[in-house]
């Protein structure tokens, strides 16, 4: 039997800029129709579409991988009319073990723009459920996704990837959405650089903030950061004259005194016609005068208010991420053992072995209790039991050998389960 290969074709935040991602994005309303269309593609046996703001990827199971990659590229290109050549430049393709690794890493939030952010797992579950409802996820993908969910759970409980820093950023985004109706048309300003503040800015971007102004005492660093965020660098000496443009201001400089005072913010507010401002002070000692919070339409939160600790321990985060990657590798191994077991030959061999060992054991037991039997009688018993076993196994094995069935993987999995020859995943 042909084995189904797992493959992932699509664009993500590392392979493609937002301009490309938004063109191929499949919105929630069109998802079911797209899934139907996906299944109609020749060479695709199963498929799930992941469409979030950071990625548009199709996870498929196919018996003809090479053809499927081409077909999926066409599928993504035609769907939203992106020139195929242009799309191909930004496409990332994962096959076999690599595809499994990618899905596990996505689920565990190791591939997120903000590593460890918790939303992705929920999105993944939702998109998988839609595919399951429409009927485009089959035996292989069901198993693969369920494994991915349990990997994500292990990573969350056993490592500190979803750490305080992430929860601080999530809190910042949550607060921003309590103040602002939508973040898409808002501007954020980053004063100074730091892991925590960069993370917060990334989080805001992941939730729709487009414009980012970056300022730093070292202008080169500001330029570098701005490039990273696709934002605009602002010279430190002039940042105050840009403040009125920012709806969210994040501070994290090493300055000792207060960079911003109530008087400065009052003036900024007047320039903004009193539109609300959300200030986040990520630095210790604090950069923004706490009295700023008393001004109407201004909300100032420092790191303690956001529920975080003032540590920007990058080493620790890297260590936790490494731990998570190890978990992913372990889980790929167990999953891979299951995938290879789906081939017909090993299943049939295992099935025969299992039944044969049962027959042998039972026969020996019987023969041992009748020592008086002649050799001829013993051989007759042996032949009879063999014949029974072969006759019983004949029909199931014939079915398992049939190659042109769509649900072959299902039959193989069922056979393994019924005869208890399942290679335990967790062994």
């Amino acid at each position: 039997m042909m084995q189904r290969e797992i493959l992932i074709v699509g664009v993500n935040h590392r392979s493609a800029p937002v301009e490309v991602r938004e063109k191929v994005a499949i919105n929630n309303g069109a998802l079911d129709a797209s899934l139907q269309r996906l299944l109609a593609v020749a060479s695709i046996e199963e498929g799930v579409i992941l469409s979030t703001c950071n990625r548009v990827e199709v996870i498929a199971a196919s018996t003809d991988g090479d053809h499927a990659v081409e077909a999926l590229t066409d599928f993504l290109a035609i769907d939203e009319h992106v020139p195929r050549d242009h799309l191909a430049q930004h496409l990332s393709v994962y096959r076999g073990r690599e595809a499994v690794r990618h899905l596990f890493r996505v689920a565990a939030s190791l591939d997120s723009m903000v590593v460890g952010e918790p939303q992705i797992l929920g999105q993944l579950k939702h998109l998988y459920n839609r595919a399951a409802t429409v009927g485009t996820a089959g035996t292989v993908l069901h198993r693969c996704f369920h494994k991915a969910f349990s990997v994500a759970k292990r990573v969350r409980t056993e490592t500190g990837v979803a750490s305080k820093a992430v929860s601080v950023s999530s809190a910042a985004v949550e607060l921003a959405s309590k103040i602002f109706d939508r973040l898409e048309d808002k501007t954020a300003m980053l004063i100074g650089a730091g892991t925590m503040s960069e993370l917060a800015a990334r989080h805001l971007m992941a939730h729709g903030v487009h414009n980012i102004l970056v300022t730093n005492r070292t202008f080169d660093r500001a330029i570098e950061l701005a490039r990273d965020f696709r934002g605009t660098p602002v010279p430190f000496e002039e940042f105050r004259s840009y403040l009125h443009m920012a709806d969210v201001i994040i501070g994290s400089t090493g300055a000792d005194g207060h960079l911003l005072t109530p008087a400065v913010i009052q003036e900024v507010l007047r320039q903004r016609k009193f539109r609300p401002v959300f200030l986040i002070d990520m630095s210790v000692p604090r950069n923004f005068d706490p009295r700023i919070n008393d001004i109407d339409n201004v909300y100032l939160y420092d790191i303690d208010d956001l529920g975080g600790v003032a540590s920007e321990n990058l080493d620790e985060r890297t260590r936790e991420a490494e731990k998570a990657e190890t978990i992913v590798e372990e889980e790929i191994d167990t999953f891979w053992r299951w995938v290879t077991s789906l081939e017909a030959v090993p299943t049939i061999v295992a099935l025969r072995d299992k039944i044969e060992s049962i027959r042998k054991a039972e026969l020996d037991k019987t023969l041992a209790s009748f020592p008086a039997l002649t050799t001829e009688q013993r051989l007759a018993l042996d032949a009879m039991t063999s014949a029974i076993v072969n006759k019983i196994l004949h029909a199931p094995i014939t079915h398992l050998k049939q190659q042109d069935r769509h649900d072959e993987a299902l039959y193989l999995a069922a056979a393994r389960k019924l005869f208890d020859i399942e290679q335990s995943e967790d062994s």
Partner: protein
Amino acid sequence: MSNLLLSLALALYLLTTATFMAQVMTGHDALRRIAHALLAAAFGAHATSLALQAAAEGYEVFATFQDELSFIACIMVGLYLVLAWRANMSVVGALVTPLAFLFSLSAHAFDKAAPELPRQLQNVWLPAHVAPAVLGYAVFAIAFCLSLIYLLQERQLKAKRKGGLFRRLPSLETLDELNYRFVTWGFALFTIGLITGSLLAKETWGELWSWEPVQVLSLITWLLYAGLLHARTVGWRGRKAATFTILGFVVVVVTFLSVNLIFPGKHGGSFG
């Protein structure tokens, strides 16, 4: 029949209020859908009841302030349903529904021995005056609810409290924008009501303006809202605007009650 439907609407308002309260406490989506279904049913019953009453009584339907209150309540609920259809506003519903219940209850419970509506009042200017005024009051009432929630949300944010209920309040920007829109519409309707009211006074008593208590208080209300809308253009938003909207509505309520209950004059109980 009309009374029966009103009783049904009242019962449903009470039930909806309880459902909204439970929704706001627990955050269950299913409860919101139930609350909205119940409220839509209540609205249907209430509107039908009012329509039947209007068909039976003609101009008399505007004769008592209890009936006007009932109209206001019904319109408020209708406005809320439109609002809720666009955005997640359960918290607003948890305020609007009990308010609608109270308003309708007074229509139901008070002695309805209304004085005869004098013949000279029964002309086209009566509905032309009452309809926009009632609509305007309903719109102001919604703006009032939005403002209360704005202040609640604003206080939570300033005090840096993050809690259960807090998660379920709409954003400040949403509330402020809606408040602005509602006050603008309310003001436009109220202005129309004021003008047609004067024309009705001219038709009935021969003069546009006679310093009746209702006229004076209405003028104060009008000036308050006009001031608020003007202040918005120079950057009054958020907490100040919300506080002012609440103040404006308090004046509206005082006007409404005092005119009808305390010194009725020509406008209220004794039309002489």
